[in-house]
Amino acid sequence: MSMVTQVNVLSARALREAWRTPEALAPTLFIPIFFLVVNFGQAGKIFPSSSTDFLHGQTYAAFTLPSSLLLAASFGTAALYLVEEIEGGYFDKLRATPIARTSLVFGRLAAEGVKTVLLTAVLIILALPFGVSVASGVIGWILLLVLTSLWAMVFVGFMQLIALKTRSAAATNSGGLIFFPLLFLTPNFVPRDLLTRPMEIAATLNPVTYVMEALRSLILEDLEWDSIARGFAVVAVCGVVMVLLNVRVIRNYD
């Protein structure tokens, strides 16, 4: 049985699991929309599209949408399912099958990717009434979906690491909270060059900044390949580190 088939059957199961627990999916949609509405409501008048250069003619909702997309991609629910599986013994059942250990990692990640594609599309559609449009066109739409999904896979991968190491739902949940400082140490309200110097340094050192800027460029501008490439490069590097650590942990899992 090829590794692709192994990953396919495991990700199909993880998708069924997500489909059957809509109550776990609802906050993933509601909270990012809530932040979009609140941020737009609070700062929309401060940054009118007619006189704010960095909005490129769109509303402030378009500027803040990437924060909501990254938030939606960073809930890490899949890692909590993994803890449940470890506690309930099903993870051992899977480990006792003759499949590649990497398939156990990629099965859940692939499902998270598919789930995030759908979630991102829904979020962008829900943002359209707030004056948002995707300036980079169809290719931009596709890149938005792909980049957000890849980020979700990377983030869930790191959450899985915590789950595998601690085998505790509480610790895994707390681990997810690490994203909140990272999300706010970014140019999420204004562009990087308008931040105070200490904040600008922090944002420049924060990898999430480059993913956010890539998503933002796809929404506000035409295809800005430099920015897009930086976003994908950050996801690729974090992804490689995440996969290597996961495979190592799962191989040494007792």
Partner: protein, 283 residues
């Protein structure tokens, strides 16, 4: 990819090993904050093909740790273990294709249906989608869960979950089936059903390695058994041999029960104190 598409089993079918499970000097140590803990301290085991082998011991004696090492789920600190002649540490995937595992917790995914779980299990053992569906149907019939097959597992009773767990361990027709306390927490009727399943599985040629805390279960099901205490094997033989040995050693008129053999082997006695039966260490 951990397995090639073809059967990964080595070419040794001409003379299959007589022993289904062998362990020599098996040791498991954990490193914790309080220092090193010796969970298993040099276990030697031999289980013949086709037998039901019982592995008994008090709580914390090392039963589950030994099973987890033999089933590739836990690393071995030192010593060797072979299942159907294959080294567990160096060829874990080849071992996994030959064994079925049903652990203490009845590890099931509660959000899937019984049928979905068995089909997935079959697919992970290399069956095609249609083969896995057929096999799932057969196994659901075997464990008498056809009526509940398309219901989600979180609605199953404890006994149903245990039977489904057993079925999921059989999806690839394993040569050796490891059952870790398969009847713990079940009511008497469900326990008898599981016993019947184990007998049926064994009659079809599968070696069964069974850990249990229920001595009656061991007496009913096992051809041979070993008793482990504090990480070492303290008795090994057929139930009859173990009873005869104790009868002769103690000069008893009748054969003792397996309970008495167990208590003698683990250095425990039962005394009635203040109206309650208590287990006390006799060493």
């Amino acid at each position: 990819m951990s397995q090639p598409d073809s059967d990964p089993r080595p070419a040794m079918e001409e003379s299959p090993p007589l022993l289904a499970v062998e362990a020599e000097g098996l040791v498991k140590q954990y490193r914790g904050r309080g220092g090193t803990v010796d969970a298993v301290r040099g276990v030697d085991l031999s289980v013949c093909r086709g037998e039901v082998f019982g592995f008994l011991g008090p709580n914390g004696a090392g039963k589950s740790t030994t099973v987890r090492m033999l089933t590739t789920l836990m690393s071995i600190t030192s010593g060797t273990a072979r299942v159907t002649g294959i080294d567990v540490a160096s060829e874990p995937d080849a071992v996994r294709t030959r064994i079925g595992v049903a652990l203490q917790e009845a590890g099931l995914d509660p959000r899937q249906t019984g049928r979905e779980l068995l089909i997935l299990q079959g697919r992970l053992f290399g069956l095609s989608a249609s083969e896995a569906a057929t096999k799932a149907g057969e196994l659901l019939e075997l464990v008498e869960l056809e009526d509940a097959a398309d219901r989600r597992i979180n609605g199953y009773s404890g006994g149903m979950k245990r039977r489904l767990d057993l079925a999921s361990a059989l999806v690839h027709q394993p040569e050796v089936l490891f059952l870790d306390e398969p009847t713990t927490g079940l009511d008497p009727a469900s326990r008898l059903t599981v016993w019947d399943e184990v007998r049926r599985i064994n009659e079809r040629g599968t070696t069964v390695f069974l850990t249990t805390q229920y001595l009656e279960e061991a007496d009913q099901l096992c051809d041979r058994l070993a008793i482990i205490d504090e990480g070492v094997i303290v008795r090994e033989g057929t139930p009859k041999e173990l009873k005869s040995e104790l009868r002769e050693r103690r000069g008893l008129d009748v054969d003792p029960t397996l309970d008495e053999v167990f208590l003698d082997a683990t250095g425990r006695t039962r005394e009635r104190r203040a109206g309650e039966v208590q287990e006390v260490a006799a060493r």
